[in-house]
């Protein structure tokens, strides 16, 4: 087995540490600043995992995943702000809306395959971005987005001193997403997903309706993305058009490729790393010592996209399995050396 025998106990230990660290103030995670950064990073890690289900496990290169995430953010925010239903029902409705939307869009765009599918999903995703930017019926607030009405959500999520509750919400969402994706990909339907990626014709010959299985993967990942959209709404405190940009999907693609597709933990790690790196790098460039670097080098470095883009290119060129793929290759080498 490629799995290290201590990996599961260690992961359990790590989760316990992450969960109880905010209770004490004598460690970095006891401060609201890092709690907030980590909460956002957890959401991105989980979102990358939902994208891995599409791209890594099922082989669907979608460029419109932001649409379902943004649906989760906006639908729950609108329902909560207008006091239509209570917050948890708003979240459930947002998930349902996103699933239905994914069903309709998926049914149309899955008629195409490969690169054309990528372009078509991109176009549908951009349509979503245009909708929230146009501010129809004054619902989405246009370019400024809408602030979450803090009175209509549980008060434990409001205020700087309560950031640890947002942190726990995000951690719980990540664990929940991981569990669902684990369950789906290990189920018999999940095996069909992987078979579709490897050889679609063969699945067809076996008498299975390939379209139905692709659509199933599409809808599951969209529903999970909408749930994470709700968590992001709580963490960010507002719904903004940047959640609907095609840049979100491209970021997810980077996270999955950097972390490594199909290993599940690779995508999560890639998402957390990406989100953490883009937040922290901007803080880093604000420091005094950074000012001494000449402008023509310092300017581009201040843009997180430069380093992440370069890492991404290097990984695609030289280590196609990403970080987790490289880890498994090293394990394989170690095991074969031991046994020979």
């Amino acid at each position: 087995m490629l799995r290290w025998k201590y990996s599961r106990p260690l992961l359990g230990l790590l989760l316990v540490v992450l969960a109880i660290a905010p209770l004490f103030t004598n460690n970095p995670l006891g401060k609201p600043g890092l709690q907030q950064t980590m909460a956002v990073a957890f959401v991105w890690g989980a979102l990358a995992l939902t994208y891995d289900l599409l791209f890594g496990f099922t082989g669907l290169l979608s460029f419109g995943h932001a649409l379902y995430f943004a649906t989760g953010v906006y639908v729950s925010c609108i329902l909560i702000n207008h006091d239509v239903v209570s917050w948890w029902l708003a979240a459930l409705i947002a998930i349902a809306v996103s699933a239905i939307l994914a069903f309709l869009v998926g049914a149309a765009s899955l008629r195409t395959t490969g690169i054309t599918f990528a372009m078509v999903t991109l176009a549908f995703g951009e349509a979503g971005h245009v909708i929230v930017n146009r501010n129809f019926f004054n619902l989405t607030g246009g370019e400024n987005g809408i602030a979450l009405n803090a009175e209509n959500v549980p008060q434990i999520w409001i205020g700087v001193f309560n950031t640890k509750y947002i942190y726990w919400l995000a951690l719980a969402a990540l664990i929940f997403t991981y569990a669902v994706i684990w369950w789906v990909t290990e189920s018999s339907a999940g095996k069909v997903f992987s078979a579709l990626r490897d050889n679609e014709q063969r699945v067809q010959v076996l008498g299975l309706n390939t379209q139905h299985f692709k659509l199933l993967a599409f809808v599951i990942s969209a529903a999970l993305a909408a749930m994470l959209g709700f968590v992001m709404l709580i963490a960010a405190g507002s719904a903004a058009p940047r959640f609907a940009e095609s840049g979100v999907t491209i970021a997810l693609l980077l996270m999955v490729v950097i972390g490594g597709a199909v290993t599940r933990w690779g995508a999560v790690l890639g998402g957390i790393f990406y989100s953490f790196a883009s937040t922290r790098m901007q803080d880093l460039t604000q420091q005094e010592s950074f000012k001494s670097i000449p402008e023509w080098i310092g300017g581009p470095i201040a843009e997180p996209a430069l380093l992440l883009g370069l890492i991404f290119i290097l990984i695609v060129m030289f280590s196609p399995g990403g970080l987790s793929g490289a880890y498994y290759r090293l394990r394989l080498k170690a095991i074969t050396r031991k046994s020979s």
């Binding site: 290169l61 149309a108 008629r111 991109l122 980077l254 300017g299 581009p300 470095i301 996209a305």
Partner: protein
Amino acid sequence: MDTFILIGITGIGLGALYFLVASGLSLIYGLMGVLNFAHGSFLTVGAFVGWWIAGKLGPDTSMIDFIIAMFVGGLAAGLFALLIEQLLITRLYDRHIDQALVTVGVSLVVGALLGGWFGNDLIMFPTPMWFLTAVNVGGAMIPADRIVYIATAIMLLIGNWILLKYTRIGLIIRAGVENRNMVNALGINVRRAFSTVFFLGGFAAGVGGVLVSVYSNGVSPLIAGSYLIYGFIVVVIGGMGSVPGSFLAAMMIGVIRQFANYYVTGLGDFVVVILLAGVLLIRPQGLLGKVRA
């Protein structure tokens, strides 16, 4: 009637810009199967080089200065595209998804570099005075810059047509789009056709970049965004690998979008997406595309 002509010609002008982006995308995809996300950065590189040249040529940009800037911008973008192709794309031969991924990385890096050097705000692009005047077409006053877009796109279409129809490399490109393996089997090296297509696509995108920065009143690393997406849509509707198809689809989308936006603000983008969905359902290979074997 005046408004009708004005909107129509503005739409065609917009379509001309889409065509400049889409023609390269279409040939690159048709010949090599590469979904080129870096095409937007070719456009931006062309725009910035053109802006730099136009600034060097003097405070009052004449028409000749502008044409030189446009040409050099296109050349720079073409050479940049060639560099990307040689450095990255050829090494990922036949790994189509990875090729698309690597171009995503290129677009991020180029965006970050230009954003770091010049900032993300619009910088004024010096244009000839003539661009600010209006030309009388059938009673409608058309802004002169629209005419330039359309003329450039038509010249590019004709140039493309001559190259593809009457030169040896053009013949190889056309044959390669139709059946690449067969061309290889006949002992012709398709690699050189790949490089040519990348250079030409980059050139067209660079020229487009200079024109786009005139249209959006300045250069910035962000100007390419929506044009790349519209470029993709044009390629899908027009048919992969068909330059005339791209031309037709670009004009169609430009005009339809302008008219829809005139009657209901913001409707244009929807109409285009619906058109895309419709074409995919009825004719998945696009208007002038051929069914792939």
